[in-house]
Symmetry: C2
Subunit: 109 residues, 2 copies
DNA sequence: GACAATTATCGCATGTTTGCGATAGAGTGA
DNA sequence: TCACTCTATCGCAAACATGCGATAATTGTC
């Protein structure tokens, strides 16, 4: 978990999303993507915590190293692959469900 | 859409899933993954058809080429990235929703 | 069959993710 | 403070997805 609270490091996607209600049209896409990245990162983090595992422990289950898990839990990281998400899910007795849902459209604030 | 019906090309994930009810434990994972790949490929295909677009047309909207779309709709392809799925979704006025759901466990047949 | 439109597949360059060790920083407890 | 655990971050090689053109294969129509 890089951004968020205490750290002033980089993005702070949440704050961004809340602040900019309806700026430009292209921005909406970027914000949405940040939201999505954030969600994936958060969910991995949440699942890991719920399973009471450290990054290193999850890494071992997944078959990788701690730094990789840390990277995946970084909200600014947007390089997720389905393959990796499935590996994580499988290690936690879950499976990944992908859905294409109608875009909110984000008209006005 | 490579596998399925008419073509005898490669995997035929569906048939596999139906045939092997409860072989080994490791196999279950592979089968599940095939299922998931199939679902993603199928959904992209379904969305594109519903939007009445050819692969070439969707490709243009997404900002890539026809062969790339074809690859994504191949049920045997398992190299999907979230980034690409989002591009597809965005081009079709959708967004991608990722969820980790409890694994069915697949005990016995 | 000939033709057009669409899709599947190949090959290769390029960009990106993963693998993984090393290391730094934060937090905890003795 | 030291020792320990956990997490963040860097750097680089290897593995992998994308970009994209060329070309086969498929399907439908006349």
């Amino acid at each position: 978990m890089r951004s968020q609270k205490t750290e002033k490091h980089t993005s702070d996607a949440l704050a961004l999303v809340e602040e900019m209600t309806g700026k430009s049209k292209e921005m909406a896409d970027l914000v949405e993507q940040e939201q999505a990245n954030l969600d994936v990162a958060r969910e991995i983090y949440a699942l890991r915590i719920k399973a009471k595992l450290s990054q290193a422990e999850l890494a071992r289950k997944v078959g990788t190293t701690q730094s990789v898990i840390s990277r995946l839990e970084d909200a600014d990281y947007d390089g997720h692959s389905l393959a990796m998400l499935r590996r994580i899910a499988s290690a936690l007795e879950k499976r990944v469900e992908i859905r294409f849902v109608p875009s909110p459209k984000l008209t006005q604030a």
